[in-house]
Subunit: 240 residues, 2 copies
Amino acid sequence: MYKEFVENAEQEQDSYKGKDKMYVAIDCIIFGFDAGSLKLLIFKRRVEPLKGEWSLIGSFVNLDEDVSAAAGRVLEEITGLKDVFMEELKTYGAADRDPGYRVISIGQYALIRLNEYDRKLVEAHGAVWHDVDKLPSLVLDHDQMVQDALEKLKAKARFQPIGFELLPEKFTIPQLQSLYEAIYQKELDSRNFRKKVMSYNVLIKLDEKDKSSSKRGAFLYKFDHARYKKLLQSGYNFEI
Amino acid sequence: MYKEFVENAEQEQDSYKGKDKMYVAIDCIIFGFDAGSLKLLIFKRRVEPLKGEWSLIGSFVNLDEDVSAAAGRVLEEITGLKDVFMEELKTYGAADRDPGYRVISIGQYALIRLNEYDRKLVEAHGAVWHDVDKLPSLVLDHDQMVQDALEKLKAKARFQPIGFELLPEKFTIPQLQSLYEAIYQKELDSRNFRKKVMSYNVLIKLDEKDKSSSKRGAFLYKFDHARYKKLLQSGYNFEI
DNA sequence: CCAAAAGTGTTACACGTACACCCATGA
DNA sequence: TCATGGGTGTACGTGTAACACTTTTGG
């Protein structure tokens, strides 16, 4: 029945007549983690409008493209990475948010591993990693987007093991702790932290050590995704 | 600098040239609560396309209208209520979600008090309240929207006192418990529930009783918004 | 041998959970 | 008087938070 109707209509349906079309964009809030602090990938605009201003990286959504696909496309264009943790943040839909023409933007935040992305690509786009606690101000409502993304990250990391998306595949417990300290902006007790993390049984201890930050070295671990999925089924809940 | 640029451009900026415009809609997932069960406001479409099918209530967003304002407008048109709890759920942005033309929709969920809305308005729109656990299937991706909204409600009600938005201003503890049981789909122990709720000190006990569901009657309470705000400042967290 | 980070246990307290009985009242 | 829902207290176990010392090893 719907099909018939659509076929009768030419290109756009009658019921859409008189309705307004607008641009739909996505903006990426891309987080990384290194040396004890959270980083954000931003770039300095090289063309008008707003040339020279700091901005998130975004794009318009094409007519035949899923909104999430647009976000994935931009992320890959700039970092070379596919299959990265990426999720919708929220819609920025104020009528006057873009002074040029009506554009709504869907913020998408991503967590990537700083040891995996394509440095040349990033450089080629004029993008740079910036500490989140020393950010310059960004164009339009991008500051708000970053603020919102940080809050979401803080809230979400507590109950879902998304923090691991920011660490290399192999990481040490002190690294993990330092990450959570950066996200929560709060120091944690190392004994309690280790005890709690270990209690979830989702870390695989490796035989290697990372000696980059101490003489003694710290054991490396991997996150056990399979096990985590299984545990989820049997209704357990992760909380750090 | 941005301004200059905009003024040079005519109506639409050069940098937007060749980009696609599309329709932006909002769909409202409107919850109510009564007689121990969660209700959803849906309506049967009276015009093509999809005439006769069950659907959420939505609207296109106008060019000069904030996305959230569009949601507020629709909610008021159909229920007569302003200043209701309403929040973005997420964006539904699949390229083929609407077979007519490209339309992205931003799901917005609202919680309203069933004793306050305008019954005549709702009727006039052909909308009806339906138990969420016996819903007919809805058009397009609206089933998914409802599913997502239910999950969000479940997750959010636990840490933020949004449940109260679904009850009359004055409510009894058994009513409150019954609401949480409907949200969590799980029976709760009345002694523990009462103890916990009371421990937050955000309920004001009134001198009235509600005798509608027992001979003895249950004391009525009001939620103390001011107190809740104050407590939030001093970093406490609500959890039920 | 020493500086610097990794790793380990115990105790006190708060909180969650399980559980059963009396109270008030209208019919 | 009795059926029905409202309201209360306790005991136990689990989890959280506070806290300090030993181990390892490269320089």
